[in-house]
């Protein structure tokens, strides 16, 4: 506070000077920005209606503001006269046959504006003269005679429509392709078409024919099998009937001229057969003996392997114990309850 009071004059002087400088600076910048010191060229035009017109409305050429509307008047003949100016930097665009167009957005929100279309002539229109608008025949006639440079419209809806056209063309071409594909598929299914699908269908037809032949053969074989089965069944029925009468069968077996006597009286054929079977059994026993010997020879290696595994487990237990004793890891490994093995030899079993 003492500082402020001691230097009150200087502080107040600075306070005033800064405020004055700021307002002067803002006024100069405003003047530059709003073209206070630049020359503007004034013109007039007329429209059928004042709808969409407003004072200060920018006049644009290819998106650039080249001027603005100064005044709007309703004349006695019910036409609307506007006074507008064009910036000196764009005065060379104001050529003979230029027209003005009031663009109004079709949906009523934004998008409208005053468009300036320069003429194709080279002469610059003098100040304070009339420039026709597209509302009247004079302007339309200049456009019809192609005396006006009309740039492409920056209309969003038009742009969307333009973008949709190639899409529609693409969709049309896709539909044509799909139609052709369906025709081909139909022809293929009908067998009129050569190609992989046609070949497959032909092969399927051949296979079906072959299957039919096979089934016919199988039916013949099945009939034969059924006939044989029938015969076997008849024989079995007779045998069963014979077996049913036990007295007759035993008598027949005990008869010296019966079946057993006949069986034994075969010139040692049965003996020979039994001998060969015993020889086979001896051979098998020898092979089994050799296998057991091999197992006995490999047992030390298995024992060694088991011993190695045991040692590894002991070392693993030590490592785990070391980890569990480590204060940094203590409690980090979940304890596991030991489960004794269920395997034990019969020798270790307690009675």
């Amino acid at each position: 506070m003492k500082f402020q009071i001691r230097f009150a004059d200087q502080i107040v002087g600075l306070f005033i000077i800064l405020a004055v400088m700021s307002i002067v600076f803002i006024l100069i910048m405003m003047g530059i920005n709003q073209r206070w010191f630049a020359k503007d060229y004034k013109y007039t035009s007329s429209f059928k209606t004042g709808n969409g017109l407003s004072v200060g409305m920018p006049i644009k050429l290819k998106g650039f503001q080249i001027g603005s509307v100064d005044k709007i008047n309703l004349l006695e003949d019910n036409t609307v006269e506007i006074n507008f100016h064009i910036f000196d930097t764009y005065i060379e665009k104001v050529r003979k046959n230029s027209v003005l167009e009031l663009s109004v957005s079709p949906i009523g929100i934004g998008g409208g504006g005053m468009l300036f279309h320069p003429g194709k002539a080279t002469d610059i229109i003098p100040e304070l003269t009339f420039i026709p608008s597209t509302d009247f025949d004079e302007g339309k006639e200049l456009i019809a005679k192609e005396l006006v440079n009309i740039p492409p419209r920056d209309d969003t809806i038009l742009n969307i429509i333009n973008d949709i056209s190639p899409l529609l063309r693409s969709v049309d071409s896709t539909l044509k392709s799909l139609d052709e594909l369906l025709i081909s598929a139909n022809a293929t299914i009908e067998g009129d078409m050569e190609g992989p699908v046609g070949d497959i269908i032909e092969e399927v037809a051949v296979m079906v024919t072959m299957l039919n032949n096979t089934l016919s053969s199988a039916m013949i074989a099945a009939n034969e099998i059924l006939t044989n089965t029938y015969g076997i069944t008849s024989n079995l029925e007779i045998t069963t009937a014979g077996l049913t009468d036990t007295k007759g069968l035993v008598t027949h077996l005990l008869d010296p001229k019966g079946s057993i006597a006949t069986l034994l009286d075969d010139d040692d054929e049965l003996y020979k057969e039994l001998f060969s079977i015993v020889a086979e059994i001896a051979k098998t026993t020898e092979e089994l003996s050799a296998f057991v010997k091999y197992i006995n020879n490999t047992q030390p290696q298995i024992s060694e392997l088991l011993e190695g595994s045991r040692e590894a487990l002991v070392k693993g237990k030590d490592v785990l114990e070391g980890l569990s004793n480590n204060p940094l890891l203590r409690g980090g490994i979940t304890g596991v309850t030991e489960q004794p093995t269920t395997f034990m030899s019969y020798g270790e079993e307690e009675f």
């Binding site: 405020a19 405003m30 530059i32 709003q34």
Partner: protein, 260 residues
């Protein structure tokens, strides 16, 4: 009843005439202020220091906050309706033309209007005014005029600072939340800021400054004997300043919209 109404009306007309006479006396003394010596100018400097310089912090903070809020809200909402550029006329209307001078006036009423009424009221109670008169010093020239000029100039300058901070300072705050291109922002602000906006703002701040200073000085001198009258008169000065500032604002706005 009719007699009471008549007396009430006569008293108010008398008070109004007295107030107008007081105002014209201050104006008359103001014209001759430049011829006064070093003492009067020192009082004026101190008044600008207390009213203007010391209120600058509050004014700048309010201006930056108000401008930033308008920009952030406007930039977020207006483009949804395809009217993003409306933010600039809205900002200028609020900061420069309408709220800027009024908020500055409210702050000066709260800070300096009350101080002036209290100080002069104390002078009256302590018979300092009588002492000035006895010493041959005109209390209007010595006490009222420096305060009148000081408050008016301070309010004008504070209003300029309010505009400066509100339109430019708030832009930099907004960059932290909703970045806008600097060149585009300042170009559009300057394009939408018209001389009539600045003139309207300057006229408002001058008129508010005159109202606040004259009303505060008037109610300060209205204290008669007791120190208990000082807060009463201070409250009346504040209330009357608010009312007159709002009426003057409405009147200036009416003229502005009639002309433009």
């Amino acid at each position: 009843m009719l007699g009471k109404l008549g007396r009430w009306m006569i008293n108010h007309i008398k008070a109004l005439l007295y107030g107008l006479g007081f105002f014209f006396q201050i104006m008359k003394a103001t014209i001759g202020f430049a011829r006064k010596g070093q003492v009067g100018r020192k009082v004026l400097t101190m008044q600008i220091l207390f009213t203007g310089v010391q209120a600058l912090t509050n004014i700048s903070l309010i201006a930056i906050a108000l401008g930033a809020v308008i920009i952030i809200q406007g930039v977020g909402i207006l483009p949804q309706f395809g009217q993003g550029d409306l933010i600039y006329p809205i900002l200028i209307t609020i900061i420069t033309r309408e709220l800027g001078p009024m908020l500055c006036a409210f702050i000066i009423i709260a800070r300096s209007g009350t101080a002036i009424a209290t100080e002069i009221g104390s002078n009256v109670v302590n018979h300092e005014i009588e002492a000035y008169i006895a010493a041959g010093i005109d209390p209007i020239s010595y006490l009222a005029v420096p305060r009148f000029i000081g408050v008016t100039i301070s309010l004008l300058l504070l209003n300029l600072y309010f505009n400066f901070f509100g339109l430019i300072g708030s832009y930099f705050i907004t960059q932290f939340i909703h970045p806008i291109q600097a060149a585009e922002y300042f170009r559009k602000i300057l394009y939408n800021l018209h001389p009539e906006d600045i003139v309207s703002s300057i006229i408002k701040s001058l008129v508010f400054g005159v109202i606040i200073s004259v009303v505060s000085i008037y109610y300060g001198f209205k204290v008669e004997q007791s120190s208990t009258e000082i807060p009463q008169m201070t409250i009346k000065a504040v209330g009357m300043s608010f009312v007159l500032c709002m009426l003057a604002d409405a009147f200036i706005v009416l003229i502005y919209y009639t002309l433009y």
